[in-house]
Protein backbone atom coordinates (compact mmCIF):
# COMPACT_ATOMS: atom_id res chain seq x y z
CA UNK A 1 0.00 0.00 0.00
CA UNK A 2 2.76 2.38 0.98
CA UNK A 3 4.59 1.61 -2.21
CA UNK A 4 1.43 2.03 -4.19
CA UNK A 5 0.79 5.45 -2.73
CA UNK A 6 4.31 6.59 -3.50
CA UNK A 7 4.04 5.33 -7.05
CA UNK A 8 0.63 6.83 -7.52
CA UNK A 9 1.57 10.25 -6.23
CA UNK A 10 4.78 10.15 -8.24
CA UNK A 11 2.87 9.48 -11.41
CA UNK A 12 0.43 12.27 -10.62
CA UNK A 13 3.27 14.71 -10.23
CA UNK A 14 4.83 13.48 -13.48
CA UNK A 15 1.54 13.88 -15.29
CA UNK A 16 1.19 17.43 -14.02
CA UNK A 17 4.69 18.13 -15.27
CA UNK A 18 3.95 16.70 -18.67
CA UNK A 19 0.72 18.66 -18.97
CA UNK A 20 2.30 21.89 -17.82
CA UNK A 21 5.07 21.45 -20.35
CA UNK A 22 2.73 20.62 -23.22
CA UNK A 23 0.41 23.56 -22.53
CA UNK A 24 3.28 25.97 -21.96
CA UNK A 25 5.02 25.15 -25.22
CA UNK A 26 1.82 24.84 -27.18
CA UNK A 27 0.59 28.25 -26.13
CA UNK A 28 3.92 29.84 -26.85
CA UNK A 29 4.52 28.03 -30.11
CA UNK A 30 1.22 28.62 -31.85
CA UNK A 31 1.30 31.68 -34.09
CA UNK A 32 -0.67 34.44 -32.52
CA UNK A 33 0.24 33.15 -29.13
CA UNK A 34 3.45 35.03 -28.54
CA UNK A 35 3.34 36.36 -25.07
CA UNK A 36 4.71 39.69 -26.15
CA UNK A 37 1.71 40.48 -28.26
CA UNK A 38 -0.53 39.21 -25.55
CA UNK A 39 0.91 41.53 -22.98
CA UNK A 40 0.73 44.47 -25.26
CA UNK A 41 -2.86 43.71 -26.04
CA UNK A 42 -3.94 43.20 -22.47
CA UNK A 43 -2.10 46.24 -21.22
CA UNK A 44 -3.43 48.99 -23.36
CA UNK A 45 -6.88 47.68 -24.11
CA UNK A 46 -8.69 46.73 -27.25
CA UNK A 47 -7.78 48.56 -30.46
CA UNK A 48 -4.93 50.52 -28.94
CA UNK A 49 -1.29 50.39 -29.81
CA UNK A 50 1.49 49.85 -27.33
CA UNK A 51 4.57 51.97 -27.52
CA UNK A 52 7.93 50.34 -27.90
CA UNK A 53 8.93 51.60 -24.48
CA UNK A 54 5.97 49.79 -22.98
CA UNK A 55 6.85 46.66 -24.89
CA UNK A 56 10.38 46.85 -23.59
CA UNK A 57 9.22 47.37 -20.06
CA UNK A 58 6.73 44.56 -20.25
CA UNK A 59 8.82 41.96 -21.97
CA UNK A 60 11.56 42.49 -19.44
CA UNK A 61 9.04 42.33 -16.62
CA UNK A 62 7.84 38.94 -17.82
CA UNK A 63 11.16 37.67 -19.17
CA UNK A 64 9.65 37.34 -22.61
CA UNK A 65 12.87 37.94 -24.49
CA UNK A 66 14.44 34.77 -23.19
CA UNK A 67 14.11 31.47 -25.06
CA UNK A 68 10.95 29.58 -24.25
CA UNK A 69 12.86 26.76 -22.62
CA UNK A 70 14.44 29.21 -20.19
CA UNK A 71 11.07 30.80 -19.54
CA UNK A 72 9.65 27.41 -18.78
CA UNK A 73 12.49 26.49 -16.44
CA UNK A 74 12.06 29.78 -14.62
CA UNK A 75 8.36 29.19 -14.35
CA UNK A 76 8.83 25.67 -13.00
CA UNK A 77 11.45 26.71 -10.50
CA UNK A 78 9.26 29.59 -9.38
CA UNK A 79 6.33 27.24 -9.00
CA UNK A 80 8.31 24.61 -7.13
CA UNK A 81 10.43 26.85 -4.94
CA UNK A 82 8.06 29.64 -4.09
CA UNK A 83 4.65 28.35 -5.13
CA UNK A 84 4.69 31.23 -7.59
CA UNK A 85 2.82 30.35 -10.77
CA UNK A 86 3.50 33.65 -12.44
CA UNK A 87 1.58 36.87 -12.69
CA UNK A 88 -1.60 37.31 -14.65
CA UNK A 89 -1.23 39.66 -17.60
CA UNK A 90 -4.80 40.82 -17.33
CA UNK A 91 -5.27 41.02 -13.58
CA UNK A 92 -1.75 42.07 -12.67
CA UNK A 93 -1.98 39.72 -9.73
CA UNK A 94 -0.33 36.42 -8.88
CA UNK A 95 -2.01 33.59 -10.77
CA UNK A 96 -2.45 31.72 -7.52
CA UNK A 97 -4.50 34.55 -6.05
CA UNK A 98 -6.63 34.87 -9.19
CA UNK A 99 -7.37 31.17 -9.24
CA UNK A 100 -7.96 30.76 -5.52
CA UNK A 101 -10.55 33.49 -5.75
CA UNK A 102 -12.45 31.55 -8.40
CA UNK A 103 -11.91 28.01 -7.23
CA UNK A 104 -14.60 27.89 -4.49
CA UNK A 105 -17.36 28.84 -6.93
CA UNK A 106 -16.38 26.09 -9.34
CA UNK A 107 -16.03 23.51 -6.60
CA UNK A 108 -19.39 24.46 -5.22
CA UNK A 109 -21.00 24.15 -8.63
CA UNK A 110 -19.28 20.85 -9.37
CA UNK A 111 -20.16 19.37 -5.98
CA UNK A 112 -23.77 20.52 -6.18
CA UNK A 113 -24.01 18.94 -9.62
CA UNK A 114 -22.42 15.75 -8.34
CA UNK A 115 -25.00 15.73 -5.59
CA UNK A 116 -27.79 15.97 -8.14
CA UNK A 117 -26.17 13.20 -10.16
CA UNK A 118 -26.04 10.94 -7.14
CA UNK A 119 -29.43 11.79 -5.71
CA UNK A 120 -31.25 11.60 -9.04
CA UNK A 121 -29.15 9.33 -11.19
CA UNK A 122 -28.64 6.38 -8.90
CA UNK A 123 -32.22 5.94 -7.64
CA UNK A 124 -33.66 6.42 -11.12
CA UNK A 125 -31.19 3.93 -12.53
CA UNK A 126 -32.17 1.38 -9.92
CA UNK A 127 -35.85 2.08 -10.40
CA UNK A 128 -35.48 1.71 -14.14
CA UNK A 129 -33.66 -1.59 -13.76
CA UNK A 130 -36.21 -3.04 -11.37
CA UNK A 131 -39.02 -2.04 -13.68
CA UNK A 132 -37.25 -3.29 -16.76
CA UNK A 133 -39.29 -2.89 -19.92
CA UNK A 134 -42.26 -1.43 -18.12
CA UNK A 135 -43.60 1.93 -19.17
CA UNK A 136 -41.74 3.83 -16.45
CA UNK A 137 -38.47 2.19 -17.47
CA UNK A 138 -39.02 3.05 -21.10
CA UNK A 139 -39.82 6.66 -20.23
CA UNK A 140 -36.70 6.95 -18.09
CA UNK A 141 -34.55 5.40 -20.79
CA UNK A 142 -35.85 7.60 -23.55
CA UNK A 143 -35.54 10.67 -21.34
CA UNK A 144 -31.99 9.78 -20.39
CA UNK A 145 -30.83 9.17 -23.93
CA UNK A 146 -32.28 12.56 -24.87
CA UNK A 147 -30.66 14.27 -21.93
CA UNK A 148 -27.37 12.63 -22.87
CA UNK A 149 -27.61 14.04 -26.36
CA UNK A 150 -28.65 17.59 -25.55
CA UNK A 151 -25.90 20.18 -25.93
CA UNK A 152 -25.15 21.52 -22.43
CA UNK A 153 -25.04 25.16 -23.46
CA UNK A 154 -28.39 24.85 -25.17
CA UNK A 155 -29.97 23.19 -22.17
CA UNK A 156 -28.65 26.02 -20.02
CA UNK A 157 -30.35 28.56 -22.27
CA UNK A 158 -33.59 26.62 -22.33
CA UNK A 159 -33.57 26.36 -18.52
CA UNK A 160 -33.22 30.13 -18.32
CA UNK A 161 -36.05 30.56 -20.82
CA UNK A 162 -38.34 28.33 -18.81
CA UNK A 163 -37.45 28.86 -15.18
CA UNK A 164 -36.21 32.43 -15.16
CA UNK A 165 -38.02 34.24 -17.91
CA UNK A 166 -41.08 32.05 -18.07
CA UNK A 167 -41.75 31.14 -14.48
CA UNK A 168 -39.57 33.67 -12.71
CA UNK A 169 -38.47 31.07 -10.20
CA UNK A 170 -34.72 31.55 -10.31
CA UNK A 171 -32.33 34.38 -11.15
CA UNK A 172 -31.07 34.40 -14.72
CA UNK A 173 -27.44 34.60 -13.69
CA UNK A 174 -25.10 35.50 -10.92
CA UNK A 175 -23.67 34.06 -7.79
CA UNK A 176 -24.25 34.32 -4.10
CA UNK A 177 -27.40 32.62 -2.90
CA UNK A 178 -28.53 29.01 -3.14
CA UNK A 179 -31.14 30.20 -5.64
CA UNK A 180 -28.37 31.20 -8.00
CA UNK A 181 -26.97 27.70 -7.80
CA UNK A 182 -30.05 25.81 -8.92
CA UNK A 183 -30.09 26.35 -12.68
CA UNK A 184 -26.33 26.08 -13.29
CA UNK A 185 -26.16 22.93 -11.22
CA UNK A 186 -29.09 21.42 -13.07
CA UNK A 187 -27.63 22.27 -16.46
CA UNK A 188 -24.21 20.98 -15.51
CA UNK A 189 -25.45 17.76 -13.99
CA UNK A 190 -27.92 16.80 -16.71
CA UNK A 191 -25.57 14.88 -18.99
CA UNK A 192 -23.80 13.03 -16.20
CA UNK A 193 -27.09 12.23 -14.52
CA UNK A 194 -28.39 10.67 -17.71
CA UNK A 195 -25.22 8.64 -18.14
CA UNK A 196 -25.38 7.58 -14.51
CA UNK A 197 -28.97 6.42 -14.89
CA UNK A 198 -27.97 4.28 -17.83
CA UNK A 199 -24.87 2.85 -16.22
CA UNK A 200 -26.68 2.22 -12.97
CA UNK A 201 -29.49 0.52 -14.85
CA UNK A 202 -27.14 -1.65 -16.90
CA UNK A 203 -25.06 -2.46 -13.86
CA UNK A 204 -28.14 -3.28 -11.83
CA UNK A 205 -29.59 -5.51 -14.53
CA UNK A 206 -26.29 -7.25 -14.96
CA UNK A 207 -25.99 -7.75 -11.23
CA UNK A 208 -29.57 -8.91 -10.91
CA UNK A 209 -28.79 -11.61 -13.46
CA UNK A 210 -25.84 -12.85 -11.44
CA UNK A 211 -26.08 -16.24 -9.70
CA UNK A 212 -25.57 -14.75 -6.26
CA UNK A 213 -28.77 -12.78 -6.67
CA UNK A 214 -30.61 -15.95 -7.70
CA UNK A 215 -29.12 -17.59 -4.66
CA UNK A 216 -30.16 -14.68 -2.47
CA UNK A 217 -33.73 -15.07 -3.72
CA UNK A 218 -33.51 -18.76 -3.08
CA UNK A 219 -32.43 -17.96 0.44
CA UNK A 220 -35.86 -16.44 0.94
CA UNK A 221 -34.65 -12.85 1.30
CA UNK A 222 -37.18 -10.14 0.44
CA UNK A 223 -36.72 -8.31 -2.85
CA UNK A 224 -36.10 -4.91 -1.34
CA UNK A 225 -33.42 -6.31 0.90
CA UNK A 226 -31.74 -8.06 -2.00
CA UNK A 227 -31.68 -4.90 -4.06
CA UNK A 228 -30.34 -2.65 -1.34
CA UNK A 229 -27.91 -5.04 0.30
CA UNK A 230 -26.77 -7.34 -2.46
CA UNK A 231 -27.33 -5.79 -5.86
CA UNK A 232 -26.72 -2.12 -5.11
CA UNK A 233 -23.13 -2.29 -3.98
CA UNK A 234 -22.13 -4.57 -6.82
CA UNK A 235 -23.90 -2.45 -9.40
CA UNK A 236 -22.25 0.63 -7.95
CA UNK A 237 -18.75 -0.39 -9.05
CA UNK A 238 -19.14 0.60 -12.72
CA UNK A 239 -20.98 3.75 -11.65
CA UNK A 240 -18.06 4.78 -9.49
CA UNK A 241 -15.69 4.32 -12.42
CA UNK A 242 -17.88 6.33 -14.73
CA UNK A 243 -18.44 9.09 -12.20
CA UNK A 244 -14.69 9.36 -11.76
CA UNK A 245 -14.33 9.94 -15.47
CA UNK A 246 -17.32 12.21 -15.69
CA UNK A 247 -16.15 14.43 -12.88
CA UNK A 248 -13.51 15.62 -15.32
CA UNK A 249 -16.15 16.15 -17.96
CA UNK A 250 -18.20 18.17 -15.49
CA UNK A 251 -15.21 20.36 -14.71
CA UNK A 252 -14.90 20.94 -18.43
CA UNK A 253 -18.62 21.60 -18.58
CA UNK A 254 -18.28 24.39 -16.04
CA UNK A 255 -16.60 26.43 -18.78
CA UNK A 256 -19.85 26.50 -20.70
CA UNK A 257 -22.21 26.75 -17.78
CA UNK A 258 -20.28 29.38 -15.87
CA UNK A 259 -20.05 31.52 -18.95
CA UNK A 260 -23.79 31.41 -19.55
CA UNK A 261 -24.80 31.97 -15.92
CA UNK A 262 -22.06 34.54 -15.20
CA UNK A 263 -20.79 32.21 -12.48
CA UNK A 264 -17.41 33.41 -11.24
CA UNK A 265 -15.49 30.14 -11.39
CA UNK A 266 -12.43 28.58 -12.95
CA UNK A 267 -14.28 27.63 -16.11
CA UNK A 268 -15.27 31.12 -17.12
CA UNK A 269 -11.87 32.34 -15.97
CA UNK A 270 -10.25 29.83 -18.32
CA UNK A 271 -12.36 30.85 -21.29
CA UNK A 272 -11.85 34.54 -20.68
CA UNK A 273 -8.14 34.02 -20.20
CA UNK A 274 -7.89 32.02 -23.42
CA UNK A 275 -9.68 34.79 -25.27
CA UNK A 276 -7.50 37.42 -23.59
CA UNK A 277 -4.40 35.27 -24.11
CA UNK A 278 -3.53 35.50 -20.47
CA UNK A 279 -1.07 32.63 -20.73
CA UNK A 280 -0.08 32.36 -17.05
CA UNK A 281 -3.72 32.11 -15.99
CA UNK A 282 -4.57 29.61 -18.73
CA UNK A 283 -1.60 27.52 -17.63
CA UNK A 284 -2.72 27.78 -14.01
CA UNK A 285 -6.34 26.89 -14.75
CA UNK A 286 -5.35 23.90 -16.84
CA UNK A 287 -3.06 22.68 -14.08
CA UNK A 288 -5.72 23.11 -11.42
CA UNK A 289 -8.28 21.23 -13.50
CA UNK A 290 -5.82 18.44 -14.29
CA UNK A 291 -4.87 18.21 -10.63
CA UNK A 292 -8.52 17.98 -9.64
CA UNK A 293 -9.15 15.29 -12.24
CA UNK A 294 -6.14 13.31 -11.06
CA UNK A 295 -7.18 13.67 -7.44
CA UNK A 296 -10.68 12.47 -8.21
CA UNK A 297 -9.31 9.48 -10.12
CA UNK A 298 -7.15 8.74 -7.15
CA UNK A 299 -10.13 9.05 -4.84
CA UNK A 300 -12.07 6.68 -7.08
CA UNK A 301 -9.31 4.10 -6.76
CA UNK A 302 -9.38 4.47 -3.01
CA UNK A 303 -13.16 4.25 -3.04
CA UNK A 304 -12.86 0.99 -4.92
CA UNK A 305 -10.66 -0.23 -2.13
CA UNK A 306 -13.43 0.56 0.32
CA UNK A 307 -16.20 -0.97 -1.75
CA UNK A 308 -14.55 -4.03 -3.21
CA UNK A 309 -12.64 -6.28 -0.82
CA UNK A 310 -11.12 -8.15 -3.77
CA UNK A 311 -9.02 -5.19 -4.79
CA UNK A 312 -5.55 -4.69 -3.38
CA UNK A 313 -3.02 -2.18 -4.53
CA UNK A 314 0.62 -3.06 -4.31
Amino acid sequence: MHQYLTKRIGSMVLTLFAISMVTFFLMNAIPGGTAEMVVKHTFVGLEQQASSAQLQEISSRYDLKKPIIVQYCNWVSGALLHGDFGTSYAYQKPVTAVILLRLPATLMLALASMLIVLVVGIPLGIYSAIHENRLSDIIIRVASIFTMSVPGFWLALILIMIFSIGLGLFPTSGYGTPYHLVLPALALSAHTTAVTIRIMRTGMLETLGKPFITFAIAKGLPTKYIITRHAFRNALLPVVTVLGIYFGHMLAGTMVIEQIYAWPGIGSLLINSVLARDIPVVEGCVLVIVALVLLVNFAVDLLYLAIDPRIHYE
Binding site: T15, A18, M148, V150, I199, G248, A252, V256, V293
Partner: protein, 303 residues
Protein backbone atom coordinates in the same frame (compact mmCIF):
# COMPACT_ATOMS: atom_id res chain seq x y z
CA UNK B 1 -13.12 -37.54 -17.67
CA UNK B 2 -16.73 -38.58 -17.85
CA UNK B 3 -17.50 -34.94 -17.49
CA UNK B 4 -15.81 -33.90 -20.69
CA UNK B 5 -17.58 -36.73 -22.45
CA UNK B 6 -20.87 -35.36 -21.41
CA UNK B 7 -19.92 -31.99 -22.77
CA UNK B 8 -19.13 -33.48 -26.14
CA UNK B 9 -22.67 -33.47 -27.31
CA UNK B 10 -23.21 -29.92 -26.32
CA UNK B 11 -25.90 -27.76 -27.85
CA UNK B 12 -25.36 -24.11 -28.56
CA UNK B 13 -25.25 -22.42 -25.15
CA UNK B 14 -28.55 -20.76 -24.48
CA UNK B 15 -27.74 -17.08 -24.16
CA UNK B 16 -31.06 -15.56 -24.80
CA UNK B 17 -31.45 -12.72 -27.23
CA UNK B 18 -27.81 -12.48 -28.11
CA UNK B 19 -25.69 -13.21 -31.11
CA UNK B 20 -22.41 -15.01 -31.45
CA UNK B 21 -19.43 -12.76 -31.00
CA UNK B 22 -18.10 -12.98 -34.55
CA UNK B 23 -19.46 -10.10 -36.49
CA UNK B 24 -18.65 -10.67 -40.13
CA UNK B 25 -20.95 -12.34 -42.58
CA UNK B 26 -24.09 -13.53 -41.00
CA UNK B 27 -24.46 -10.68 -38.58
CA UNK B 28 -24.71 -8.01 -41.25
CA UNK B 29 -28.23 -9.24 -41.79
CA UNK B 30 -28.78 -9.55 -38.08
CA UNK B 31 -27.63 -5.97 -37.67
CA UNK B 32 -30.13 -4.63 -40.11
CA UNK B 33 -32.93 -6.71 -38.66
CA UNK B 34 -32.24 -5.07 -35.32
CA UNK B 35 -34.61 -2.16 -34.88
CA UNK B 36 -32.16 0.01 -32.92
CA UNK B 37 -29.68 -0.33 -35.77
CA UNK B 38 -31.96 -0.13 -38.73
CA UNK B 39 -34.09 2.88 -37.82
CA UNK B 40 -31.29 5.27 -36.80
CA UNK B 41 -29.25 4.10 -39.76
CA UNK B 42 -32.02 4.98 -42.16
CA UNK B 43 -32.68 8.34 -40.52
CA UNK B 44 -29.00 9.22 -40.39
CA UNK B 45 -28.71 8.16 -44.01
CA UNK B 46 -31.46 10.62 -44.83
CA UNK B 47 -29.69 13.37 -42.94
CA UNK B 48 -26.44 12.54 -44.69
CA UNK B 49 -28.25 12.69 -48.02
CA UNK B 50 -29.61 16.11 -47.08
CA UNK B 51 -26.09 17.20 -46.25
CA UNK B 52 -24.62 15.91 -49.49
CA UNK B 53 -27.42 17.27 -51.64
CA UNK B 54 -27.72 20.49 -49.65
CA UNK B 55 -27.71 22.70 -52.77
CA UNK B 56 -30.65 20.76 -54.16
CA UNK B 57 -32.66 20.61 -50.96
CA UNK B 58 -32.03 23.95 -49.34
CA UNK B 59 -34.68 26.42 -50.47
CA UNK B 60 -32.23 29.30 -50.41
CA UNK B 61 -28.57 30.26 -50.49
CA UNK B 62 -27.47 29.90 -46.85
CA UNK B 63 -25.28 32.99 -47.16
CA UNK B 64 -27.82 35.23 -48.87
CA UNK B 65 -28.26 38.26 -46.67
CA UNK B 66 -31.49 40.20 -46.65
CA UNK B 67 -31.21 43.10 -44.26
CA UNK B 68 -34.79 44.12 -44.90
CA UNK B 69 -36.09 40.91 -43.41
CA UNK B 70 -33.98 40.05 -40.42
CA UNK B 71 -35.26 37.78 -37.65
CA UNK B 72 -38.53 37.19 -39.38
CA UNK B 73 -40.95 34.57 -38.21
CA UNK B 74 -41.70 31.45 -40.27
CA UNK B 75 -43.49 32.26 -43.49
CA UNK B 76 -44.15 30.52 -46.76
CA UNK B 77 -40.96 32.01 -48.19
CA UNK B 78 -38.83 31.09 -45.19
CA UNK B 79 -40.30 27.98 -43.59
CA UNK B 80 -38.31 28.42 -40.38
CA UNK B 81 -37.88 32.17 -40.58
CA UNK B 82 -34.68 34.15 -41.02
CA UNK B 83 -31.74 34.90 -38.78
CA UNK B 84 -30.13 38.14 -37.67
CA UNK B 85 -28.91 38.86 -41.19
CA UNK B 86 -32.07 37.78 -42.94
CA UNK B 87 -30.60 34.44 -43.99
CA UNK B 88 -32.94 31.49 -44.41
CA UNK B 89 -32.79 29.37 -41.25
CA UNK B 90 -33.88 26.16 -42.96
CA UNK B 91 -31.17 26.47 -45.58
CA UNK B 92 -28.59 27.13 -42.93
CA UNK B 93 -29.76 24.07 -41.00
CA UNK B 94 -29.41 21.92 -44.11
CA UNK B 95 -25.95 23.27 -44.90
CA UNK B 96 -25.12 23.06 -41.20
CA UNK B 97 -25.61 19.30 -41.43
CA UNK B 98 -22.79 19.34 -43.98
CA UNK B 99 -20.47 21.20 -41.68
CA UNK B 100 -21.27 19.17 -38.59
CA UNK B 101 -21.16 15.78 -40.26
CA UNK B 102 -18.03 16.58 -42.23
CA UNK B 103 -16.21 17.79 -39.15
CA UNK B 104 -17.39 14.81 -37.12
CA UNK B 105 -16.46 12.25 -39.75
CA UNK B 106 -13.11 13.82 -40.49
CA UNK B 107 -12.33 13.98 -36.78
CA UNK B 108 -13.27 10.36 -36.24
CA UNK B 109 -11.32 9.14 -39.24
CA UNK B 110 -8.21 11.03 -38.15
CA UNK B 111 -8.66 9.86 -34.55
CA UNK B 112 -9.12 6.28 -35.68
CA UNK B 113 -6.04 6.31 -37.87
CA UNK B 114 -3.95 8.01 -35.22
CA UNK B 115 -5.34 5.69 -32.56
CA UNK B 116 -4.67 2.61 -34.63
CA UNK B 117 -1.11 3.64 -35.42
CA UNK B 118 -0.27 4.66 -31.87
CA UNK B 119 -2.07 1.67 -30.38
CA UNK B 120 -0.28 -0.75 -32.68
CA UNK B 121 3.10 0.82 -32.04
CA UNK B 122 2.56 0.78 -28.30
CA UNK B 123 1.24 -2.75 -28.28
CA UNK B 124 3.88 -4.16 -30.56
CA UNK B 125 7.01 -2.41 -29.44
CA UNK B 126 6.36 -2.73 -25.74
CA UNK B 127 9.02 -1.61 -23.31
CA UNK B 128 9.84 2.04 -22.87
CA UNK B 129 7.90 3.14 -25.96
CA UNK B 130 4.78 1.42 -24.72
CA UNK B 131 5.24 2.88 -21.27
CA UNK B 132 5.45 6.43 -22.58
CA UNK B 133 2.66 6.01 -25.13
CA UNK B 134 0.25 4.32 -22.79
CA UNK B 135 0.88 6.94 -20.14
CA UNK B 136 0.01 9.53 -22.76
CA UNK B 137 -3.10 7.58 -23.67
CA UNK B 138 -4.12 7.45 -20.02
CA UNK B 139 -3.66 11.18 -19.62
CA UNK B 140 -5.72 11.98 -22.68
CA UNK B 141 -8.47 9.63 -21.57
CA UNK B 142 -8.58 10.90 -18.01
CA UNK B 143 -8.41 14.52 -19.04
CA UNK B 144 -11.49 16.26 -20.45
CA UNK B 145 -10.36 16.82 -24.01
CA UNK B 146 -12.60 19.76 -24.71
CA UNK B 147 -10.41 21.88 -22.47
CA UNK B 148 -7.43 21.14 -24.68
CA UNK B 149 -9.50 21.81 -27.74
CA UNK B 150 -10.64 25.11 -26.34
CA UNK B 151 -7.17 26.26 -25.36
CA UNK B 152 -5.80 25.18 -28.71
CA UNK B 153 -8.52 26.87 -30.72
CA UNK B 154 -8.34 29.94 -28.56
CA UNK B 155 -4.74 30.36 -29.59
CA UNK B 156 -4.95 29.12 -33.17
CA UNK B 157 -8.19 30.89 -33.97
CA UNK B 158 -11.37 29.35 -35.32
CA UNK B 159 -11.48 27.42 -38.57
CA UNK B 160 -12.66 24.09 -39.86
CA UNK B 161 -9.17 22.67 -40.15
CA UNK B 162 -8.13 23.86 -36.71
CA UNK B 163 -11.33 22.51 -35.26
CA UNK B 164 -10.80 19.05 -36.75
CA UNK B 165 -7.23 19.04 -35.52
CA UNK B 166 -8.18 20.08 -32.00
CA UNK B 167 -11.06 17.62 -31.77
CA UNK B 168 -8.95 14.78 -33.11
CA UNK B 169 -6.48 15.47 -30.35
CA UNK B 170 -9.24 14.86 -27.85
CA UNK B 171 -10.56 11.66 -29.39
CA UNK B 172 -7.63 9.51 -30.52
CA UNK B 173 -6.77 8.09 -27.13
CA UNK B 174 -9.89 5.95 -26.84
CA UNK B 175 -9.03 4.14 -30.05
CA UNK B 176 -5.39 3.82 -29.15
CA UNK B 177 -6.25 2.17 -25.86
CA UNK B 178 -8.68 -0.20 -27.49
CA UNK B 179 -6.23 -1.25 -30.15
CA UNK B 180 -3.27 -1.47 -27.84
CA UNK B 181 -5.23 -3.88 -25.67
CA UNK B 182 -6.26 -5.93 -28.66
CA UNK B 183 -2.70 -6.06 -30.01
CA UNK B 184 -1.35 -7.08 -26.63
CA UNK B 185 -3.79 -9.93 -26.26
CA UNK B 186 -3.42 -11.02 -29.86
CA UNK B 187 0.36 -10.83 -29.76
CA UNK B 188 0.55 -14.00 -27.72
CA UNK B 189 -2.08 -15.91 -29.57
CA UNK B 190 -1.04 -18.86 -31.60
CA UNK B 191 -1.90 -17.65 -35.01
CA UNK B 192 0.17 -14.52 -34.63
CA UNK B 193 3.07 -16.44 -33.18
CA UNK B 194 2.96 -18.89 -36.04
CA UNK B 195 2.59 -16.12 -38.58
CA UNK B 196 5.71 -14.63 -37.14
CA UNK B 197 7.71 -17.83 -37.26
CA UNK B 198 6.72 -18.19 -40.89
CA UNK B 199 8.41 -14.85 -41.36
CA UNK B 200 5.58 -12.44 -42.01
CA UNK B 201 6.43 -8.91 -41.10
CA UNK B 202 4.81 -7.29 -38.11
CA UNK B 203 2.84 -4.93 -40.25
CA UNK B 204 1.25 -7.69 -42.25
CA UNK B 205 0.48 -9.65 -39.13
CA UNK B 206 -1.15 -6.64 -37.63
CA UNK B 207 -3.30 -5.82 -40.57
CA UNK B 208 -4.24 -9.36 -41.48
CA UNK B 209 -4.94 -10.75 -38.08
CA UNK B 210 -5.50 -8.09 -35.53
CA UNK B 211 -7.42 -5.38 -37.25
CA UNK B 212 -10.36 -7.58 -38.23
CA UNK B 213 -10.82 -8.34 -34.57
CA UNK B 214 -11.10 -4.72 -33.57
CA UNK B 215 -13.44 -3.61 -36.32
CA UNK B 216 -16.52 -4.19 -34.20
CA UNK B 217 -15.45 -2.34 -31.05
CA UNK B 218 -13.95 0.49 -33.11
CA UNK B 219 -17.17 0.81 -35.06
CA UNK B 220 -19.21 1.03 -31.87
CA UNK B 221 -16.85 3.53 -30.28
CA UNK B 222 -16.74 5.62 -33.45
CA UNK B 223 -20.52 5.75 -33.74
CA UNK B 224 -20.96 7.03 -30.22
CA UNK B 225 -17.97 9.36 -30.58
CA UNK B 226 -19.49 11.01 -33.62
CA UNK B 227 -22.28 12.15 -31.34
CA UNK B 228 -19.72 13.48 -28.86
CA UNK B 229 -17.83 15.30 -31.58
CA UNK B 230 -20.98 16.92 -32.90
CA UNK B 231 -21.70 18.18 -29.40
CA UNK B 232 -18.14 19.43 -28.96
CA UNK B 233 -18.20 21.18 -32.32
CA UNK B 234 -21.41 22.91 -31.39
CA UNK B 235 -20.05 23.88 -27.99
CA UNK B 236 -16.87 25.36 -29.41
CA UNK B 237 -18.79 27.19 -32.13
CA UNK B 238 -21.10 28.51 -29.44
CA UNK B 239 -18.05 30.26 -27.99
CA UNK B 240 -17.08 31.51 -31.41
CA UNK B 241 -14.09 29.19 -31.44
CA UNK B 242 -15.42 26.63 -33.86
CA UNK B 243 -16.05 27.46 -37.46
CA UNK B 244 -15.78 30.96 -38.98
CA UNK B 245 -18.90 33.06 -38.63
CA UNK B 246 -20.04 32.75 -42.25
CA UNK B 247 -19.94 28.94 -42.28
CA UNK B 248 -23.38 27.61 -41.39
CA UNK B 249 -23.05 25.52 -38.24
CA UNK B 250 -25.66 24.51 -35.69
CA UNK B 251 -23.75 25.61 -32.59
CA UNK B 252 -22.99 29.05 -33.96
CA UNK B 253 -26.62 29.33 -35.06
CA UNK B 254 -27.60 28.89 -31.41
CA UNK B 255 -24.96 31.39 -30.41
CA UNK B 256 -26.29 34.07 -32.72
CA UNK B 257 -29.87 33.05 -32.09
CA UNK B 258 -29.74 33.22 -28.29
CA UNK B 259 -29.90 36.99 -28.51
CA UNK B 260 -33.41 36.66 -29.86
CA UNK B 261 -34.44 34.15 -27.25
CA UNK B 262 -37.61 36.05 -26.43
CA UNK B 263 -38.53 37.61 -29.73
CA UNK B 264 -37.72 34.60 -31.91
CA UNK B 265 -37.14 31.57 -29.70
CA UNK B 266 -37.16 29.30 -32.75
CA UNK B 267 -33.71 30.57 -33.70
CA UNK B 268 -32.36 29.01 -30.51
CA UNK B 269 -34.70 26.10 -30.11
CA UNK B 270 -34.57 24.57 -33.57
CA UNK B 271 -30.82 24.16 -34.06
CA UNK B 272 -30.65 22.75 -30.54
CA UNK B 273 -33.34 20.22 -31.32
CA UNK B 274 -31.59 19.27 -34.54
CA UNK B 275 -28.31 18.69 -32.72
CA UNK B 276 -30.10 16.68 -30.05
CA UNK B 277 -31.90 14.58 -32.63
CA UNK B 278 -28.76 13.74 -34.57
CA UNK B 279 -26.81 12.92 -31.43
CA UNK B 280 -29.70 10.79 -30.16
CA UNK B 281 -29.64 8.87 -33.42
CA UNK B 282 -25.91 8.26 -33.16
CA UNK B 283 -26.26 7.19 -29.53
CA UNK B 284 -29.10 4.81 -30.32
CA UNK B 285 -27.20 3.45 -33.30
CA UNK B 286 -24.09 2.99 -31.20
CA UNK B 287 -26.03 1.08 -28.58
CA UNK B 288 -27.81 -0.96 -31.20
CA UNK B 289 -24.50 -1.86 -32.77
CA UNK B 290 -23.14 -2.81 -29.41
CA UNK B 291 -26.11 -5.04 -28.74
CA UNK B 292 -25.57 -6.76 -32.05
CA UNK B 293 -21.81 -6.89 -32.28
CA UNK B 294 -20.58 -6.97 -28.77
CA UNK B 295 -23.22 -8.29 -26.44
CA UNK B 296 -20.94 -8.86 -23.49
CA UNK B 297 -19.70 -5.41 -23.07
CA UNK B 298 -21.86 -2.81 -21.45
CA UNK B 299 -19.36 -0.23 -20.42
CA UNK B 300 -16.72 0.60 -22.98
CA UNK B 301 -18.59 3.15 -24.93
CA UNK B 302 -19.24 5.35 -21.98
CA UNK B 303 -15.69 6.22 -21.17
Amino acid sequence: MNESRMEAGKTVPVRFGSFPHTWCGQSARAMLSHRTVFIPLVLLGLIACCAVCAPLIAPDDPGAIDLKHVVSLPSSKHLLGTDYLGRDVLSRLVYGARTSLFIALATIVISCVAGIVIGCVAGYQGGMIDLVLSRGIDIFIAFPGIIFALVLLGFMGPGVFNLILALSLTQWAGYARLIRGEVLSAKNENYVLSARTVGLSDRIITFRHILPNVVAPVLILATIDIGHVILSTATLSFFGLGVPADVPEWGSMINTGKTFMRTAPLLTVIPGLVITAVVVLFNVLGEGLRDVLDPHDGMEAFD
